[in-house]
């Protein structure tokens, strides 16, 4: 029985379809995305040192794999317009509700801790990008 993936999700540095390479994202937003989302929602995961030790590594690998499946910013440009809209709407919902980033994540990644102001800025950004897409 294999509950967690044993293989580490691959790190890919060059992602021509990446959101930040294709969309003009304001600096404050892009840095928030990188520090609070990109570890699980992109191909550019930065694995911490403890992520190579079991059992933590299984959890990290699992979250990274599932996170990329749900939303992978590195594949942004491959999404259809309607998928982009739905993804942005989801981001807005999850970030406002405080569901994302996952509660434990900022415990080990201080920069990932989002204030209310940060959350509002992110939500506003999703709204403006949604309008831009039209």
């Amino acid at each position: 029985m294999q509950i967690y993936p044993v293989n580490r999700p691959e790190i890919i540095a060059d992602n021509p379809n990446d959101l930040l390479k294709n969309v003009n994202v304001p600096e404050n937003i892009s840095s928030m995305l990188r520090s609070a989302c990109y570890d699980c929602h992109s191909n550019e995961t930065i694995y911490p040192w403890y992520a190579s030790i079991a059992p933590v590594k299984w959890i990290v690998y699992d979250h990274t794999e599932k996170g990329r499946e749900e939303l992978n910013f590195s594949e942004w440009n491959a999404l259809s317009k309607s998928d982009k809209l739905e993804v942005l709407d989801d981001i807005s919902g999850e970030v406002t509700d405080g569901k994302m980033p996952l509660k434990f994540y900022p415990l080990t990644h201080r920069d990932a801790k989002l204030s209310e102001v940060d959350r509002e800025a992110l939500t506003d950004w999703t709204e403006s990008l949604m309008e831009e897409l039209f």
């Binding site: 317009k81 309607s82 809209l85 739905e86 919902g93 406002t96 509700d97 709204e127 949604m130 897409l133």
Partner: protein, 141 residues
């Protein structure tokens, strides 16, 4: 004098009935105001769809709803009052289709309490077709 009354009475009745009719239409209109049929973004909600939305969904998915989560995810009032941008509308309509396809709505827990709120297959199909067509229209497909 008698003649005057015979002329006045019908006139008065006519006036009263007109007043009553306009009063009731106003009340009905107010009740439906939240789910009016068209808006500036071009969302059209035909009467049959309106009926289903009102009966089976609106209870939770409206601005005044106590369920913060349900109204945040999908607010039927926002479909027509301009609160949803075009992009949001496309997304929300897509999610309506998705949730209905997966048979997620109304939620099982809710149905255990209110079994009469379950969507019939026809109603679910009607909502999905409506959402799909509106979504495509917005996307210009």
């Amino acid at each position: 004098m008698k003649k005057q009354i015979t002329i006045l009475m019908p006139a008065l009745l006519l006036f009263l009935s007109f007043f009553m009719v306009s009063y009731t239409t106003d009340t009905i209109k107010n009740n439906y105001e939240a789910i009016s049929s068209t808006n500036s973004e071009g969302i059209e909600i035909p009467n049959d769809v309106q009926e289903v939305l009102k009966e089976k969904c609106y209870g939770c998915h409206n601005t005044e709803s106590k369920g913060e989560k349900s109204k945040k995810k999908f607010n039927i009032d926002y479909l027509t009052d301009g609160n949803y941008s075009k992009g949001k509308l496309v997304s929300k309509l897509g999610k309506v289709v998705e949730e209905l396809e997966e048979n997620n709505m109304p939620p099982e827990k809710f149905l255990a309490k209110y079994p009469n709120k379950e969507l019939t297959i026809e109603e679910s199909k009607l909502l999905m077709e409506w959402a799909k067509s509106q979504r495509e229209a917005l996307m210009g497909e």
